[in-house]
Amino acid sequence: MTSTPAASAPLLSIRDLSTWFHTGGRSVARAVDGVSFDVMPHETVGLVGESGCGKSVTSLSILRLIERPGRIEPGSRIDFEGRDLLSLDDRAIRAIRGNRISMIFQEPMTSLNPVFTVGDQIAEVARVHSTASRREAWERAVDMLQQVGVPAPADRAREYPHQLSGGLRQRAMIAMALMMHPALLIADEPTTALDVTIQAQILELLAELQTRVGMSILLITHDLGVIAESATRVLVMYAGQIVEEAPVRTLFDAAHHPYTEGLLSAMPRLGDRRERLTVIPGTVPSPTQWPAGCRFHDRCAYAWDRCRTDAPPLYQIGAGHVSRCHLAAEPARRRAPAFAAAAPAS
């Protein structure tokens, strides 16, 4: 199903991942609902989708950071470097976290501890995952800060998180994540809180470090521009599911799923002086009650009877390109234009 250029084995392989929140009563939030994909060594995979579609819950599931009332449902499978992460005990998973797989978050303050200096926190990673002495660990922390472009790293290392600007904090967090040269970096909206000029610095830095260290990146963002500039392959999520997967060029040239099509045309871009922006009508449904049939059907301009009753499978569209849309079976139903620049919809 998830087709990637063969040759090597995937670094990360996720099959039928479901993470649900059992919030009491009879309502269950099916935040992630049967997600499958692979990440190959050295590649950058982009994961896009609207707020609440399940991107962060997917990434937290990989690291087994889901807390009650959340639960990774039976039947889910996550293999990493040939090991089944879901069957590991707590100790074994902690040995992987921050070491072979590390994560950076949108808001650095959530992962930096305000009462320790930045240097101490980064050094701590080396102390936990290696036999480095206190001094060696500190020196490596300073070196890492230097590598991620923090000026005067030895001085900065002695400062507390609140003393750093947003851009520097983000770099400190990246330094912490890269300390052990992870095989997989999960970057959840790493630049969303930053300004574009600082965002450009961080993306450049990640690309450079990736070449130098040779890691894979799972890049989560809602910014298709960031995806276009950084990812080789893209996963589009909608309502807890993957609705399209394609190589980055294919996605931008020949998106198949109407949701992806809508996202691409709703986005204002530089150089675009259209009179009206294209609109995807309606809003994202709630994870406690996904619509029947295709989860996108009530916002989709092409929807017909079948969409309202049958849940579409992931259809193969081309090489490495799949789409969860019945148009693959009945292409004649696609008539342009799908998303009119409609009058303000309610």
Binding site: D195, T197, A200, A228, L270, V279, A343
Partner: protein, 366 residues
């Protein structure tokens, strides 16, 4: 009032229309205090001499990085925070001299839509009550007439009338932003400060709200000060664009002109850094070094000099504050190294300048 800035902030009014809003040398400093006695130890120079005009029915966008003073500018103009200095004229009236009833009457004409649709609506009030509040305060309608007007407003922003009895938490971000817009429209303003009205929204919902704002502008002849950090959103909605950096306006021009020919090195970097959703395009971004300095301790001279990549940057940039001057017709730029400049070469030399000014357009923008 410094003559060149004041005159040029008008950026060529088309056929001599008077501005609806004229701001001159607006300053807002927040004191930094320390200890139990709140001793004043310094100031955050959030807005440091901003001049701009907004004409009837137009959208002036104010863009810049986080913390550069956009929100403070917008709020100071409406006197939601008291400016430290400067002049604000709305339709000829001196806004800073007004008080009491006169200020309340003026507030009817000048409204604001907030950045955060989640915290800007009172959670204990129904949507109907939120929209109705302005009608009551300004004695525009009461009883049945007010109910009818609320229904009309909700309809205008694309919400069903039956939402009036519900509470803000029952709505999505985009719907809440519509409620905020209905609230602002209720008092029939002529001018609205839109403080990042779509920044917190998803792309698909962003487009709905932007289209709505444009429709309302056309129908009611509204003028907007549209605050944003996303240059691609701004290009779509703005007639003119002002770029802000550390409390200063560093470039101001017609939107077409600014996007086609950015001149201030900061604007050039900003434009080149916007990610482009086209994987076939190999772009050279201008990567700046360093971080945005703190407005509590701004650099001397040009506020951008510590990060500026202009090849002619020299010591003069660290000592002379560049005036916002006209470098192309109607195109104002604050940079002493981009030609032409009124800061003469001898003047620059006596401030330590060693490199003659030259107009540089980086390859990244080619």
């Amino acid at each position: 009032m410094t003559a060149p800035n004041a005159a040029s902030a008008r950026s060529a009014p088309p056929n001599g229309i008077a501005p609806l809003l004229a701001v001159r040398d607006l300053v807002k400093h927040f004191p930094i205090t320390r200890g139990v006695f709140r001793r004043r130890v310094g100031a955050v120079r959030a807005v440091d001499g901003v001049s701009l005009d907004v004409f009837p029915g137009e959208t002036l966008a104010l863009v810049g990085e986080s913390g550069c003073g956009k929100t403070t500018t917008g709020r100071a103009i409406l006197r939601l925070i008291e400016p430290s200095a400067g002049e604000i004229r709305f339709d000829g009236a001196d806004v800073r001299a007004l008080g009491g009833d006169a200020l309340r009457r003026l507030r009817r004409q000048m409204q604001i839509i907030f950045q955060d649709p989640f915290s800007s609506l009172n959670p204990r009030m129904t949507v109907g009550a939120i929209v109705r509040e302005g009608l009551t305060i300004h004695k525009l309608a009461e009883g049945e007439a007010a109910d009818a007007r609320v229904r009309e407003l909700l309809d205008e922003v694309g919400l069903r009338a039956d939402v009036a009895s519900r509470y803000p938490h029952e709505f999505s971000g985009g719907q809440r932003q519509r409620i905020g817009i209905a609230r602002a429209l209720a008092v029939e303003p002529r001018f609205i400060v839109c403080d990042e009205p779509v920044s917190a929204l998803d792309v698909s919902v962003q487009a709905q709200v932007i289209n709505l704002l444009e429709d309302l502008q056309r129908e009611h002849g509204l003028a907007y000060l549209f605050i944003a950090h996303d240059l691609s959103v701004v290009e779509h909605i703005a007639d003119r664009v002002a770029v802000m950096y550390l409390g200063h306006i560093v470039e101001l021009a017609d939107a077409d002109e600014l996007y086609r020919r950015p001149i201030m090195p900061y604007t050039q970097a900003l434009l080149s850094a916007v990610p482009v959703p086209d994987p076939t395009r190999q772009r050279h971004r201008i990567i700046l070094s360093g971080d945005v300095p703190s407005p509590a301790n701004p650099p001397s001279g040009c506020p951008f000099h510590p990060r500026c990549p202009h090849p002619r940057k020299d010591d003069a940039c660290t000592r002379l504050v560049p005036p916002l001057e006209e470098k192309e017709p109607g195109h104002l730029v604050a940079c002493i190294k981009q030609t032409p400049t009124t800061v003469s070469w001898p003047e620059q030399q006596s401030a330590g300048g060693t490199m003659q000014p030259e107009r540089i357009i980086p390859d990244a923008l080619g």
